[in-house]
């Protein structure tokens, strides 16, 4: 009985979470202008520093930043817009 209840709670939580994501993805596609207009520099300053310090653009070459950015896209599960802008900023500032 306890296992049944526990499994139900876990399953319900997961289903609710997935449903929330589904709803958000459908209804949250319109991004406010202030968010959409964020520069790569701003996104670099806001996101990278959440776990480590903001990376120095001179650390890697452009090709290396391509590979490093993909690693960070997956490790930090950043949005596509964020990582694309951050990578472009790092290359320009390199």
């Amino acid at each position: 009985m306890k296992n049944k209840s526990r499994n139900r709670i876990i399953s319900l939580t997961v289903i609710m979470g997935i449903t929330s994501i589904f709803v958000v993805m459908i209804n949250g596609c319109k991004v406010p202008e202030s968010i959409a207009n964020k520069s790569g520099a701003q996104l670099w300053g806001e996101n990278c520093i959440r776990c480590h310090n903001s990376p120095d653009p001179k650390t890697y070459s452009d090709d290396q930043w391509d590979a490093a950015a993909e690693h960070m896209r997956q490790k930090a599960i950043l949005t596509d817009v964020e990582i694309t802008k951050i990578k472009a900023f790092l290359k320009l500032a390199n």
Partner: protein, 413 residues
């Protein structure tokens, strides 16, 4: 019951995959959501981009042990902690290969072991969905896989944080989604899952029966674990992240063994927050995790005569938490001062305990409840090269108090 559980898990995974594909197909496309075109690389030729990152790490530690009724002991040593290589290969705009190989030294007697920490293939099918497969570190809590490297501003590992889902072999999906001013990220996966340790030869506190092992690359039964995480960043500047994550394994014992159907589940919640109170950057991090494995009365043999000794039933559940704060005067003009960061952290670990016994009874494999206090001063030579100097005190219920002073240098290249 077993059928229902398996059916529920299949439905959940299918629902998750459908949600990802359907929403990506019907997502609005307007100029505000379209990512800017990538700037062409200055380098000519070659579609594959490669980076060999990694680290070298060494430390010095002084360890003092105090135990009531026994003489105090103290020792100090230099130690070559680890050497790690991380080859990253971006094959094209959708396909990415990520691996991590670490050389871990043996603390006693010399020698080293080469461990494959991760080997993952990612395929980005849509801007919101990447499919991955291989040997990966699931998103579970904040510390493991994220804050356990040069990102650890407290030097020592927080107790109770390396006991949940660790690197496993499987497949999954993940992605990040902008939702108005907030963001979500998600991960959902199927993996071989944990393997129950059953030791029928060791007698006494060294017997780890009932604990979970995540180190094997192949599965020990035909059941797969399902796990996932949801991250929520409510603020428009992304300085606050809240995560919940978990994993359910319907079977952890070896195929056709009496222990095959012993199940286990793990849950974690964490918070990661930073704010610049000019000129001081403040970070707050905290995590709680819990793992419960189905209760079972395990027999083991005490000696070569195979006389059976029943292990008293114990609640096979464990939990741990930690909370830490760091301050760094990153807005100060002085280069030396702005590269200093001071951190303080507390945490506890509660191991399994015998049913009906007092809270002071240790787990069958000899672990005690622990409380940890850590203070650490870090100097950042570069954004990824820290020198940590830490004081760490570990108090064990009905056990010793271990005080450690550590100086650790990580060179991440």
């Amino acid at each position: 019951m077993k059928t229902k559980t398996g059916t529920i898990r299949r439905i959940i995974l299918l629902a998750g995959l459908c949600a990802g594909y359907i929403s990506s197909a019907y997502a609005q496309q307007d100029s505000s959501t379209v990512a800017p075109a990538e700037i062409p690389n200055k380098a000519q030729g070659g579609g594959t981009k490669f980076l060999l990152a990694g680290k070298a790490q060494a430390s010095w530690s002084q360890i003092a042990t105090q135990l009531q009724g026994a003489p105090n002991t103290s020792s100090h040593t230099f130690f070559p902690d680890a050497f790690m290589l991380m080859p990253l290969v971006k094959v094209n705009n959708r396909l990415f290969l990520d691996a991590q190989v670490e050389v871990d030294v043996n603390p006693m007697g010399g020698g080293a072991a080469i461990n494959l920490n991760e080997m993952i293939v990612y395929y980005r099918s849509t801007p919101w969905l990447s499919v991955f497969g291989g040997n990966f570190s699931p998103k579970y809590g904040l510390y493991m896989g994220v804050m356990d490297d040069f990102t650890n501003r407290y030097c020592t590992d927080p107790i109770g944080m390396n006991r949940g889902p660790q690197t496993q072999t499987g497949i999954g999906i993940q992605g990040g989604i902008q939702a108005g001013y907030s963001k979500f990220n998600y991960q959902l996966y199927l993996s071989n899952g944990p393997q129950l340790v059953v030791d029928s030869s060791t007698h006494g506190n060294a017997n780890a029966t009932g604990s979970l092992n995540y180190g094997n690359y192949t599965d020990n039964n035909n059941n797969k674990a399902i796990g996932g995480s949801i991250g929520f960043l409510p603020l428009s500047n992304s300085n606050l992240q809240l995560d919940v994550s978990g994993q359910v394994a319907g079977k952890t014992g070896s195929l056709n063994s009496p222990y095959e159907n012993i199940s286990s589940y793990s849950l974690a919640a964490d918070i990661n927050y930073y704010h610049l109170f000019n000129p001081v950057m403040v970070r707050v991090q905290a995590e709680y995790n819990y793992t419960k494995t189905h209760q079972f009365n395990y027999p083991w043999f005490s000696d070569s005569t195979k006389s059976t000794l029943l292990v008293p039933g114990f609640n096979n559940q464990l939990s741990g938490w930690y909370a830490g704060i760091t301050v760094r005067p990153s807005g100060i003009d002085n280069e030396i001062i702005r590269n200093l960061e001071l951190g303080a952290r507390v945490g506890t670990y509660t191991p399994p305990g015998y049913i009906g016994a007092t809270s002071n009874t240790p787990a069958p494999w000899g672990e005690n409840a622990e409380q940890q206090t850590t203070v650490c001063l870090t100097y950042w030579f570069t954004w990824k090269t820290p020198l940590n100097i830490a004081y760490d005190q570990l108090k064990m219920t009905n056990g010793p108090t271990i005080t450690t002073y550590t100086a650790r240098l990580i060179y991440f290249f």
